[in-house]
Subunit: 175 residues, 2 copies
DNA sequence: GTACCATTCAATCATCTGATTGATGGAAAG
DNA sequence: CTTTCCATCAATCAGATGATTGAATGGTAC
């Protein structure tokens, strides 16, 4: 799974080969097929691995008023420490267009993310930390879209400074 | 180019085959290779085709104060009328990670988009239509990221209503 | 010691895929 | 009419690719 995950991040679905996965593990192709009968099964495994990894970072922590900022900081740290994760998420998002099973999983993670953000925004609004003119769930889905655009898609703002500036602009808009 | 573009939107780079392109045109593979010696050349052609298509929608129009809203409406209309374009842009963005030439082109289009938005925001700020506490270019790059996340990546908000709500939330945040 | 089972591998298969070749037909040039 | 050039095609190639097979290895149970 680790090898497949790494190769998926490195070459995308376009360049993912069962032979390469087996080679990276240092094992015969037949051995790979012994555990994962088809390439599809391998991919399913990787999807679970990657999504679990992302899910585990969604748990909010810290003082209520600071949770939103903490969440952004957490995502930014994740992007710095494990950039492959966002590449894989992009690959999965794209593949979700043509693969119902993957689409369902991606949708599920998105929904979890958005719900968490919604709750977090409601909290912050009650404390008066943010403006609550917009409905929390609308704002949450917008923020999710922004963060995805910011971290999943490769863009101009790839250097840490640029991302920092963009996140600050986002915080300023919300609060 | 049209056939290759359509197939790229339909199957992604992962499933793009020269044979299928030729078949879609109703022509022999050798004929395709007669005009485009390699698959790479075909792809370059499609990139130019797609990016030109998007670029042509970036020209702002309408009364100064309404240009921002008009821009959002234009993107939304484009997403409705030509959803393939955004799929292709997503494919290109992803491939840009592994293909310097494509990355440069994508970066260029992004920069054009962001500059246009920056100018548009400055206009609106002078008119007092929007808050100008944030630097225009920071805000512009943030908006580009949001729009990309909203339209390029497949998400929960695929139905027109959801997108409408998200765009309205974005407008409310900015103004 | 023998039978059984899980694991691994070298070799191989069938198909896919980008690309090439040599031939054919037809239009333009002389 | 003949020559030349352009466009197209059927056929084919070489390498890649997902998957399978049958044999070998080593460990466990009886």
């Amino acid at each position: 799974m680790q090898a497949a995950y790494d190769l998926l991040a490195e070459r995308g679905f376009e360049g993912l080969r069962t032979r390469d996965i087996a080679a990276k593990v240092g094992v015969n192709i037949a051995t790979l097929h012994y555990y994962y009968p088809t390439k599809e099964k391998v991919i399913r495994g990787v999807v679970g691995y990657a999504m679990g990894r992302f899910r585990s970072t969604l748990q909010p922590a810290g003082s209520p008023g600071e949770q939103l900022r903490a969440h952004f900081a957490g995502i930014r740290r994740l992007a710095r420490d494990e950039p492959e994760l966002f590449v894989v998420m992009g690959e999965l998002a794209m593949r979700g267009r043509r693969d119902r099973a993957i689409a369902a999983i991606v949708r599920d993670v998105d929904a979890t993310w958005q719900k968490m953000l919604t709750a977090l925004l409601r909290h912050a609004a009650k404390e008066g930390a943010i403006d609550n003119s917009a409905k929390a769930d609308d704002l949450a889905s917008l923020i999710v879209a922004t963060l995805k655009g910011l971290f999943i898609l490769p863009g101009d703002g790839r250097d840490a400074k640029e991302v920092d500036r963009q996140l600050r602009a986002l915080e300023r808009l919300i609060t």
